[in-house]
Every structure is written in structure tokens, then in C-alpha cells.
């Protein structure tokens, strides 16, 4: 039977009917939890919930599933894959003690790596709710998650970017123009990844081949991905298409993923299929996942949980399939889940922290939509904070404007700003390529070449005379 939680503050007594309710009410405020009706009713109730949560032993989360084991394959994955041996150094801690331990000098990068598989998403979510933004940054910075395919992502002192050359009609010249722009601004080491406007197998294969040819011609140490449904990519692999990474949006409950049209077995099949192509040169991480707070509620598949806890559970799904990249698309979902710049910032830092703590190669799409209360200044702030926190990668798009998905994310310029002010570099293999191609005049000071590099000057001579429409 589910336990209830009580406490008294002054004259008022508080009661939380379940662990899920306690977690939800302990969450820093955001519109999605209000929409779900799980938010704390007052500022005091929120802090009281945090105080009660701080007293809970971490083992509570192993004994009490937030979504029943029988009903949800993500709960089964979390429970069945929990590593009791890795958990030993922290199993005696309460959630509040866990925060202290994470911040302490005991928790070095090596120790954090070794306890990773002993931490469940719910433990990570719970402790994050007690942490200030600076705590989320400090601990995330200590967690290192490195992955590799044709280059190495997530090394200390590195900040990679996904070059996102989307085009509203998938026009190949338009896409190639954005790829060129990005490469010449030093973007694209995490992946060159296209969201197709037309989401079908034929179109995906065409875009895969387009990117593969560019990567081969210029010998770029990076990987490509078409962000189409996992079942489309499986079909593309069967057709012999050049698939580097398999994409899928994932959520933290079985019902969320069912609404996305897949289950865990689909992802296992996809990972095996992509690995069988052996296209990686320095590593075998072949999956690219995207997540974001609010997706479970949006699919009415949240089981009464707060959106940040659902999000953390998605990282259990991610880490099962050894992804190269996991991207929390933090402001994309809209103001009904994250209302303004403040809520988006907090969520971005929480997601990055929880992901890294669980061993997920976390990047962030620092973004907002035109119906949210946010602007470029909010994005500058979150980008800077995530750069400090050691975020693996961000997006790179021409002038921050995604003309296909209709939202704003970080630009090629923004990434160079972050690298310059924080002294961060691209992935080492890609950095060498940028130097060889003379894209930078001095890569150590992030100084771009004022002249057009020779290899690309040559390509511009092949420009068609007239703009082409459609494909």
C-alpha cells in the first residue's frame, strides 16, 4: 500500500497522499504542473514538500514505484537494471544527504561515474528539486559522459554543436546553403541533423544521401542524422541508405512512447541495425534521442507525475541504448508547459543535471517559441549557464531562426560566443578538420578566417544561376 507523508509547520499540518504527489509539490513552479493539477498550492507547501522529500531515504525509490511495475515497461527497465553494487556508496543516504554528498569533495568525477548505474531517474529528479541552479551546474560539471562515432563528444572543455540545416520544403540547394554556412562558422561536430519537412522514407533516404555525400567529399569527421520516426529509419537501413545515427523522440512512460509509435523493443532493433552498418570510425554510439519536459502530459500519459520526473525517466530509456547524443528540446513545447524564460532556464538546467548524473550524453536545444514569454536574452542566459555546466552540445542554426520548425534556437554565432567567453572547443577530431580546412584563422582564439577557404570557394563556382523551388 502506498505510504502517505505528513508534517506540521507552525499551526498548519500538511499531508501528501503519495510519493508522486510529494515529488510534484516539491517541484519548482512551472505551467505544465499547474496544467496537470499537480503543482503545490502555495509557496509554503512547496518548501514543506521539499523538506519532507529531503528526509526520505534514497531506498524509498527502489521500494515504491511511481508508476506500477506491472503497468509500465519503463518502470520495469528502471527497477530491473538498477545496479545494487554501484548503489552501495550512497544507499544509506536520504535525498537531502544525497544533495550534500553530490556537492561534496567525496563526489569526484570518477566516483560519480562509478555510482551512475545505482542512481534511478526518480532519485535524480528528487534531489534536483532540492537544488538551486548553481548546484545543478556544479554537479553536472563534475559528471562526464563521453561518446563517439566519427568524433568524440563530451570531453572536458569541449562544446559541440548540431548543425541543423532545416528547410521548409527540404530543398536540397537550400539545405546545402545552410550546411555550408554552418561549416564555415565551425558548426556541426555533434551531428549534421535535418528535421525533414516531409516525413516519409523516400524523403529521409534522399536527405541521408545528401549529407553523406557532403561528409565524404569534404572528409568531415562528423555524423549525419535525419530526424524521422525510428521505423522509417529502419526501413531506410533495409533499403541500403547511409544511416549514421538513428533518431527518435522518447518519453519517460510506456504510454508516452506508445503515443510516439514505438516501444523499447523497437529501439533495441534500431540500435542493432545501425551498429551492423559499422559506419562509426572512433566509436559505436549510434542513437540520437530527443526529450523535453511536458511530452508525457501532452500525450496524457503522465500517470499523475510532475513533468520533470517524467523527463528524468526518459533518460533511463536513453541510457539503455548507448546514445551518441541526447537532446532536451527545452523550450519547444510551448508556454503551457514552460511559461517563460525563467521556467525554461530552470528546466534546461534540471534536465542537463539529471541526464549527466544518470550517465546520459546530454545536450540542450536552448530554444523558445513565439507564443512563449521568452526572447533572445533568455537564451543567452541559459546558453551561458549550460556552457559553464559542461553541456555536451547545443544546436546551431543560421541566425537562430528555424524556418521549418518555426521556433528559435541557438545560432552558429551563439556557439562561437559561448566557446569564446568560456574557452571551450569543438570535438578534437572536428577541431583539427576546421584548422586543416582553414575555416579559422586562429582556432585557439576562435578567430574565423576573413577569407573564404579554398575548398569552399571552389564549390561556390558550381552554384545554379536561378533559385530552385521545391525538390
Amino acid at each position: 500500500m502506498a505510504k502517505t507523508y505528513h508534517t506540521t509547520v507552525g499551526a498548519r499540518s500538511y499531508r501528501f497522499a503519495s510519493l508522486a504527489e510529494l515529488m510534484a509539490k516539491a517541484s519548482p513552479p512551472r505551467s505544465g504542473d499547474r496544467l496537470a493539477g499537480v503543482i503545490a498550492e502555495s509557496a509554503e507547501e512547496r518548501v514543506v514538500a521539499q523538506m519532507v522529500l529531503a528526509e526520505l531515504p534514497l531506498t524509498t525509490f527502489l521500494n515504491e514505484a511511481l508508476i506500477p511495475y506491472e503497468e509500465d515497461e519503463i518502470t520495469r527497465l528502471i527497477m530491473d537494471d538498477h545496479d545494487a553494487a554501484a548503489f552501495v556508496p550512497i544507499r544509506h543516504l536520504t535525498v537531502g544527504d544525497f544533495r550534500n554528498w553530490l556537492l561534496s569533495d567525496h563526489a569526484t568525477s570518477e566516483v560519480l561515474t562509478s555510482v551512475r548505474m545505482g542512481i534511478t531517474p526518480e532519485m535524480a529528479a528528487a534531489v534536483s528539486k532540492l537544488m538551486r541552479n548553481q548546484d545543478l551546474i556544479l554537479v553536472a560539471k563534475k559528471c562526464q559522459v563521453t561518446t563517439a562515432f566519427r568524433n568524440t563528444i563530451g570531453l572536458p572543455g569541449r562544446l559541440s554543436t548540431r548543425l541543423q540545416p532545416n528547410h521548409p520544403t527540404d530543398d536540397v540547394t537550400g539545405i546545402a546553403a545552410s550546411i555550408l554556412d554552418g561549416l564555415l562558422y565551425g558548426s556541426g561536430d555533434a551531428v549534421i541533423g535535418i528535421n525533414p519537412a516531409t516525413d516519409n522514407v523516400a524523403q529521409s533516404v534522399k536527405l541521408m544521401r545528401l549529407m553523406d555525400e557532403v561528409i565524404q567529399k569534404y572528409q568531415i569527421p562528423t555524423q549525419s542524422c535525419v530526424l524521422t520516426h525510428v521505423t522509417n529509419t529502419l526501413e531506410a537501413i533495409e533499403l541500403g541508405a547511409p544511416v549514421d545515427l538513428v533518431f527518435q523522440s522518447i518519453g519517460g512512460t510506456e504510454a508516452t512512447n506508445r503515443s510516439f509509435g514505438f516501444d523499447l523493443s523497437t529501439l533495441a532493433e534500431a540500435e542493432a541495425a545501425a551498429q551492423s552498418l559499422k559506419r562509426g570510425t572512433v566509436g559505436r554510439n549510434v542513437m540520437y534521442f530527443e526529450t523535453g519536459q511536458g511530452s508525457s502530459l501532452s500525450a496524457d500519459a503522465h500517470h499523475g507525475l510532475d513533468q520533470q520526473t517524467c523527463e528524468a525517466r526518459a533518460y533511463a530509456v536513453a541510457r539503455k541504448f548507448n546514445p551518441l547524443l541526447v537532446n532536451t528540446v527545452v523550450g519547444f513545447i510551448g508556454p503551457e508547459y514552460l511559461f517563460d524564460g525563467k521556467e525554461i532556464t530552470r528546466a534546461g538546467l534540471e534536465d542537463h543535471f539529471c541526464g549527466k548524473l544518470l550517465g546520459v550524453p546530454m545536450g540542450c536545444d536552448v530554444c523558445y517559441t513565439n507564443h512563449a514569454e521568452a526572447d533572445q536574452n533568455d537564451m543567452d542566459n541559459l546558453l551561458t549557464l549550460l556552457g559553464v555546466a559542461g553541456c555536451n552540445f547545443i544546436m546551431g542554426i543560421p541566425g537562430s531562426d528555424d524556418i521549418m520548425l518555426n521556433y528559435q534556437t541557438t545560432s552558429f554565432h551563439d556557439a562561437l560566443y559561448a566557446r569564446r567567453v568560456l574557452g571551450l572547443k569543438a570535438a578534437p577530431e572536428f577541431e583539427r578538420w576546421l584548422e586543416e580546412m582553414q575555416i579559422f584563422q586562429d582556432i585557439s582564439t576562435h578567430r574565423l578566417n576573413d577569407q573564404l577557404p579554398a575548398a569552399f570557394a571552389n564549390s561556390l563556382r558550381h552554384l545554379p544561376k536561378e533559385p530552385r523551388h521545391g525538390t
Partner: protein
């Protein structure tokens, strides 16, 4: 260094002329690694306009009159409203936008009293851009009606509906109330900086309240500078026919409308022609 003294403060990009091939903000140039002032302000203006577009209301009566005339409808479209009373509530409560208000539901129950079954219900929804709906609905439906009327099958269309403050899923409730086998929702997509006028098309086979995204197929970015209405209508019709044949929609029904692309460009081999990979 002498070289530094010669460097201009704003460095322009030699590939700026590529912007004739895309609306993406490429070749912006830079001051150091940052945006030049003129490009920064151009962005700020576009963002301001997009924010304003979100709050612009749909002129229902004007659209209804236009559709009645252009499609030579025997009865005017039915005007409906979601449970979200105004835009502020709409933005914060998507659940309200997914269901009809009581008055609208009663209206539809009366309209469907004849128990007649329809092949397709077309639902026009303001969504996040009334501008998109105002501008693209009539040309798209003219193209679609033309395809349907020249098809061998005699398509039975439910009364046309227009919904204010609606979200995609509201179409499923409307389709079910109208006894339609399939529903097409035409909705204003969230406005982008370069595209405040983009219409999205969503199809559900066997619509009923409570269905999820995996049961819907989507065709996006229908607008003059994006996917043309004739092509959008052609793709939608192919989807509709396949849904009707297989009695499914969503992820189980793949969009095959561009399969000829693959064949036309020699399958999974051969070059995807563009300047970056030209010899």
C-alpha cells in the same frame, strides 16, 4: 599586427548570395563572432511581428462567406468554439482547446441528427495563426474539392466547420459527432519568424475523442512560400485514399507520396545534386 588594422569591423560573408536559395538567415556576416547590428535588429523586428501574430483573432464570418462562394457550398460552414474562452486561456490550457464548448457540441449533434455517414469531415481551426487559416484555407480547399470531384468514387463530405481557439485534437470530436469516417483538420501552425502564415493538415481515420498523435498523419508548412496548396491537396488525397483502403491512419500509414522521388533519383545510390558536391 598590420593585418588586424586592415580587417573591417564587420566581416561580410562571401557566400551571402546563397540566400537567394533559402529563407534561412545565412551569410549574415559578423562583428568578431557576433551578429552585426543591422542583422540583430532585423531579427528583433521579425520576433516582434510573430509575437503579435499569435494574438491576432480569426475573422470567422469573412472566411465563411469566402468559402461558401469559392466552393459553391449549399449551406454555410458551421461556426464552432472550443472550451477555451479566450487566447490567454487557450495558451495555458491546451486541454480546453481540444474540446468543444457545450453550445458547439449541441449544434453539431443537431446537424448530424440525420444519422447520415460521411466519408470526410473538413475542420478549419485557428490554432496559433489565424493569418495562416485566413490566407490558405480557401485556395487549399478549392484544390482539394477539385481532386475529390474528379475522382471515380463519389465522396460524401460532412458540413464544413470553422473552430475558434481550437487545437488539433478537437477535430476528432467533431469528426465523431458528424459520423465521419475520416477527419481533416486544417490548423494555423505556430508562427515562425519567416513564416507567420503556415497551415498544418492533420488526418485521422475513424476519429473519436481521446486519440493520440500516433493516430494522425501530418502535412506541414502549407503556404505560398512553402508547400503549395495543389501539392498539399494531392498528398492529402493520396493519404486519404490509403487510409480508406487500409482503415488506419497515423504511424501505421506511411506517407508514400514521394516514393517516386527515390525512383526518380536512382534509389539509394547516385548523387543528390547540389553545389556542395558538384565535381
Amino acid at each position: 599586427m598590420a593585418h588586424d588594422e586592415l580587417s573591417p569591423i564587420v566581416v561580410e560573408n562571401a557566400w551571402e548570395r546563397l540566400n537567394t536559395f533559402t529563407d534561412a538567415r545565412i551569410g549574415l556576416g559578423r562583428a568578431g563572432v557576433s551578429l552585426p547590428t543591422s542583422k540583430l535588429l532585423a531579427f528583433q523586428l521579425a520576433h516582434a511581428q510573430a509575437q503579435d501574430a499569435v494574438h491576432c483573432p480569426l475573422e470567422v464570418e469573412k472566411l465563411a462567406n469566402e468559402l461558401t462562394k469559392a466552393l459553391t457550398l449549399s449551406e454555410a460552414p458551421i461556426s464552432l468554439h472550443s472550451h477555451a474562452q479566450d487566447r490567454a486561456l487557450y495558451l495555458q490550457r491546451p486541454d480546453y482547446g481540444r474540446r468543444l464548448d457545450d453550445k458547439s457540441r449541441e449544434q453539431l449533434q443537431q446537424a448530424a441528427a440525420s444519422q447520415q455517414r460521411y466519408d470526410l469531415a473538413v475542420v478549419i481551426v485557428d490554432g496559433l495563426s489565424a493569418l495562416a487559416v485566413q490566407q490558405n484555407s480557401t485556395p487549399f480547399l478549392r484544390a482539394l474539392y477539385q481532386i475529390l470531384s474528379s475522382d471515380a468514387y463519389d465522396w460524401q463530405l460532412a458540413p464544413l466547420t470553422i473552430v475558434e481557439q481550437g487545437r488539433v485534437a478537437i477535430g476528432d470530436e467533431i469528426g465523431a459527432l458528424l459520423n465521419a469516417d475520416a477527419v481533416l483538420v486544417m490548423i494555423g501552425e505556430r508562427p515562425g519568424l519567416s513564416s507567420p502564415d503556415s497551415l498544418g493538415l492533420y488526418m485521422t481515420w475513424a476519429p473519436e475523442p481521446g486519440l493520440k498523435d500516433d493516430r494522425r498523419n501530418c502535412i506541414s508548412n502549407v503556404r505560398p512560400a512553402g508547400l503549395q496548396v495543389e501539392e498539399a491537396a494531392r498528398r492529402f488525397f493520396l493519404l486519404l485514399k490509403e487510409a480508406r483502403q487500409l482503415k488506419v491512419s497515423g504511424v501505421k500509414l506511411k506517407d508514400r507520396s514521394e516514393d517516386n522521388v527515390l525512383e526518380g533519383e536512382s534509389g539509394t545510390t547516385g548523387s543528390i545534386s547540389n553545389f556542395l558536391v558538384a565535381d
